[in-house]
């Protein structure tokens, strides 16, 4: 095992020969929430995107509506790595609440754009500091004093645009897009950005350490958050009933869905809705509504976060045992309890996989990209009806609420799978049916929907023990048969769920398993490990549980495998250990659980310190 030579982030950008670093920069803006800085940050992000440079945006916000510190981080990177990086190259300090801590946390040599009012908090001399008279600048362009608090943010857009050599034409386009339909606001904001830009040009030293130069790596791409992508997937998946109870970070999914459905899912002739969205009284009701709808034949889903998942536990067990389709989207935040409601984690993997009492287990789909949010939402609706069981989609705050780039989504190519449903005609032909009989050998019975006009159609759905004809039964053999069949059903689905994505390198010295939003940090870490630490890695990205057979093969082919996770207890590592007891000693974890998105260096350090294979 090699000792780790360095745990220093390798991405420290230096400007030794005074050449600027091109298209590789992390910009962080500290404001207080509720001041409208989001628009300014989106303009910066969009400008870089329009200039063809891959970019991502992460908002770190407080659990509060107005007045507490919030940080927005933009990472532009020619290679497409947009995972969180630990330190910023260019920091904009606008918030008195956090300024001292913000400045203390900067890496030596970083550029600091400092609000002139905050200059007294500057205690360091190892930074490149630009003190900007934001108050005076905004007063000049914005006569209405009440609007200055909002417009001042666009001044820093201009300053940053000058510092990064952003094209002001593109800034103008980004502002026009951000304020489309509000020409007055667009004009005012453009004037502010120009004022900031002009001030910087006139007052700042000409050397700029980080610059953005046009590329063509974003052509045709979209920029979106995962919740919006998931909502689109639900709409295209033919969802008809959705029930939810507001909770960060899933609320914006329900709200995006509400907007899309209102716009695109009304009958052309009658103007009537082909969907129902209910804001329920709590998450128990939400999953109850979904289960009732699934029972009666609708494609139904709910979205929530950890606390809601906890409340849903009992009905999820009912839906599992009574075999009713349901889709549950978990946009994970940090727990236990209220935890950190506006921070990200993968802390619900274990509780969702086994949610409810008794022997329960549920298929989990785990998206890592916008496209997967869209596709898995459609697929989950199919799988739920096919498997007649609750299917979970495990997203997280980072994926759901932050901004990601993607190729545009393609319309669905396969027809909807409505699963095994018998009609009155089928019943005429068959002469009857037994609801829970495994006639096809896949553990999945056939069902009828209420309202089927046939004397053999009805059956009694219950969470109580039943035989394969759905008759109540407390016979030990009936109970056990049922449980065994349910296991066959869920286990049998493993190779029909999204399959793992495997990437290998020559002469690997470590093997990693990751899932969800850990993917982008892992990809970057693998590059760093291979190029700077002579540690090539094999990597399997899990896209669903129960794990496909290829997961077992991957683990069996490596003497040690680290599961990279954003939770304390290495939950998926534990699930895999339980799944493959014979391979359990090989499975370890690299964990990250401070509420921030995973960064590459945590993975690099994890691999180097836990030990790659001997060379």
């Amino acid at each position: 095992m090699t000792a780790s030579p360095s745990t220093q982030p390798a991405f420290r950008n230096t400007t030794q020969d005074n050449e600027p670093v091109i298209n590789d920069v992390v910009i962080q803006v500290a404001t207080s929430n509720g001041t409208g800085s989001q628009s300014a940050n989106l303009v910066l992000l969009r400008t870089i995107f329009q200039m063809g440079v891959p970019v991502g945006g992460k908002n770190m916000f407080p659990s509060n509506i107005q007045g507490l510190p919030t940080w927005f981080t933009i990472r532009a990177n020619a290679q497409g790595w947009t995972a969180r990086r630990r330190d910023a190259d260019l920091f904009v300090a606008m918030n008195v609440e956090s300024v001292e801590e913000d400045i203390a946390a900067l890496r030596p040599g970083a550029t600091l754009v400092l609000h002139a009012d905050l200059e007294k908090h500057l205690t360091r001399d190892d930074l490149i500091v630009h003190v900007v008279p934001f108050g005076r600048l905004v007063a000049e362009v914005c006569p209405d004093a009440r609007l200055r608090r909002l417009v001042v943010n666009m001044i820093y857009v201009g300053v940053v645009a000058w510092l990064l050599e952003l094209d002001m034409e593109e800034v103008g386009r980004a502002i026009a897009k951000q304020f489309s339909g509000k020409p007055k606001a667009a004009d005012l904001n453009l004037a502010a950005a120009r004022a900031g830009h002009a001030w910087a040009e006139a007052n700042l030293p000409p050397h700029r350490p980080f610059v953005i130069r046009r590329m063509d790596r974003t052509a045709g791409k979209i920029i979106m958050d995962g919740n919006t992508a998931m909502a689109l997937g639900l709409m295209y998946g033919g969802l008809t009933v959705f029930a939810w109870y507001p909770i960060t970070p899933s609320s914006s999914l329900a709200e995006a869905l509400t907007d899309f459905m209102a716009k695109y899912r009304h009958d052309a002739e009658t103007g009537k809705a082909t969907y129902a969205i209910v804001q329920a009284e709590d998450e128990l009701a939400a999953i109850g509504i979904v289960t009732g709808a699934g029972w009666a034949g609708a494609r139904a889903a709910t979205a929530t976060s950890g606390p809601g998942i906890s409340l849903m536990a009992e009905i999820v067990g009912l839906a599992h045992f009574a075999e009713i389709p349901a889709v549950v989207i978990d946009v994970q935040r940090v727990g236990p309890s209220t935890g950190l409601p506006t921070r990200t984690s993968q802390g619900d993997m274990m509780s969702a996989y086994y949610l409810s009492h008794g022997d329960t287990r549920h298929p989990l789909l785990i998206p890592a990209t916008l496209a997967e949010c869209y596709e898995f939402a459609m697929q989950a609706l199919d799988l739920a009806e096919r498997l007649q069981t609750p299917v979970f989609i495990m997203s997280d705050l980072d994926l759901g609420m932050n901004l990601w780039m993607s190729e545009p989504f393609a319309p669905p190519t396969r027809p909807m799978d409505r699963g095994k449903v018998l009609t009155a005609q089928d019943l005429d032909r068959l002469g009857g049916f037994a609801r829970y009989r495994d006639v096809d050998g896949d553990g999945i019975g056939w069902r009828t929907l209420p309202g089927t006009r046939h004397p053999k159609a009805a059956y009694f759905t219950q969470g109580a023990g039943h035989d394969d004809a759905a008759k109540r039964s407390e016979k030990p053999a009936d109970w056990q048969n049922n449980l065994d069949r349910l296991r066959r059903k869920i286990d049998g689905a493993r190779n029909n769920l999204p399959q793992p994505a495997i990437q290998t390198m020559d002469n690997p010295r470590a093997a990693l398993i990751g899932y969800g939003t850990s993917d982008e940090a892992i990809a970057e870490a693998r590059h760093i490990l291979a190029t700077q630490h002579a540690t090539p890695t094999d990597y399997l990205r899990l896209r669903a549980l129960p794990p496909a057979d290829s997961v077992r093969e991957f683990i069996a082919a490596h003497s040690r495998v680290f599961v990279v996770e954003q939770n304390r207890d290495a939950q998926v590592a534990a699930i895999l250990q339980a799944e493959y007891p014979d391979l359990a000693p090989r499975i370890g974890g690299i964990v990250h659980y401070n509420g921030l998105p995973l960064d590459a260096h945590t993975v690099v350090e994890g691999v180097l310190s836990k030990g790659s294979y001997a060379p």
Partner: protein, 359 residues
């Protein structure tokens, strides 16, 4: 196809002398409305309500194929297995039938939803869902089989136990009872009735009225638990209910497809018009009570509680009809569950339009 003679079923030779069983409006016999044999205690009030439900559905001529039977958990909730085996039933989890029924209704509102719940199921663990279901005006007949105890868990007091009513073990309930009828009125429910499992004459027309109502209809039926709450000192015992039931009026139901034959003297009868043109006829007894006045209805509930009166009958019927949940949501006429793919999957151009907006 007749329900009682399923297609392809071997013809059963009829006993030669037997008269043909009476049939209802849709040509079905009572047999088509039967369920599995009850497993409740002999004499349980719930079984008697089951019989009245069968009678109401049969006489209304509602096809069992069109009915969805919902319930929670409890002795009462079990009873959805004991009527109408030709209907789909969903015996879910404790207290959440209202939520599950909401989903089922949204999926297929052509179904006639009937929910059977208990006082524990509705007034304790499921109280929130019950109230919110009513706020939404979910078309459903919601029957509460109210025995003042948790029967299935062996007789603990429920939240509807009256103040001063005694437990089997002798102690008294000191806590304020929850009156599901008063709450229902508060929540905007437009059809609220209270009855007694032993009052067949009253319960059947009230259930029929509820079925004809077309919005949320709550029927709170005192239904004695003969095993755990039938002792002296209980205000939900069979004896107490029989001796104290005080009907507000005599209830008659006239379906829209039958002419009014009874001849009620002017001023003695209140006619309640139901949305499908059926009528409830309320003939005055000692009380001079008009259930179309919300304030009076609430007053009545409060007075009944203060004075420990067991008043039964139609407690409230709203003279104006609010919009059902489906109407509020402007849903298409067809069941959402059965919409074909082309109606629930927007065209590819829509996706292209959305993608453009995010470029």
């Amino acid at each position: 196809m007749s329900i009682s003679e399923p297609a392809g079923a071997p013809a059963v030779a009829a006993a030669p002398a037997a008269k043909p069983a009476p049939t209802n409006r849709i040509g079905e016999t009572m047999a088509a409305y039967k369920g599995a044999a009850s497993t409740l205690c002999a004499g349980c009030g719930h079984d008697s309500i089951t019989s009245q439900l069968i009678k109401a559905f049969f006489e209304m001529g509602i096809s069992p194929y069109d009915v969805a039977k919902m319930s929670g958990i409890g002795c009462s909730s079990k009873t959805t297995a004991y009527f109408m085996s030709l209907s789909h039933g969903f015996n879910g989890v404790h207290g959440r039938a209202a939520a599950i029924a909401t989903g089922s209704y949204l999926a297929n509102r052509r179904l006639v939803h009937v929910c059977v719940s208990g006082d524990g199921d509705t007034a304790s663990i499921g109280l929130g869902h019950f109230l919110h279901m009513l706020r939404r005006n979910l078309p459903i007949v919601y029957v509460i089989e109210n025995n003042g105890v948790y029967g299935l868990t062996k007789g603990q007091f429920s939240a509807t136990a009256d103040k001063g009513s005694t437990h089997k073990k002798g102690f008294e309930n000191e806590q304020t009872p929850i009156d599901c009828c008063a709450l229902a009125i508060e929540m905007g429910c437009e059809y609220v009735a209270r009855s007694f499992s032993g009052d067949v004459k009253q319960l059947v027309p009230l259930l029929k009225g509820a079925l004809a109502h077309g919005g949320s209809a709550v029927v709170d039926v005192v239904s004695p638990c003969v095993t755990f709450n039938n002792h002296e000192g209980s205000t939900k015992s069979l004896k107490f209910a029989r001796e104290n039931e005080d009907p507000l009026h005599e209830v008659g139901f006239v379906p829209y497809y039958e002419p009014i034959t009874a001849d009620y003297a002017e001023g003695t009868t209140i006619t309640i018009d139901l949305p499908d043109q059926s009528k409830l006829l309320l003939r005055k007894l000692e009380h001079d009570y008009d259930p179309r006045d919300k304030i009076r209805a609430l007053e009545l509930c409060h007075r009944a509680q203060e004075e420990r009166l067991f008043l039964t009958g139609l407690i409230y019927h709203s003279p104006v009809r609010g919009r059902t949940l489906a109407e509020q949501m402007n849903l298409v006429d067809e069941p959402l569950a059965h919409l074909p793919e082309e109606r629930v999957r927007p065209a590819a151009e829509v996706l292209a339009e959305v993608m453009e907006a995010y470029r």
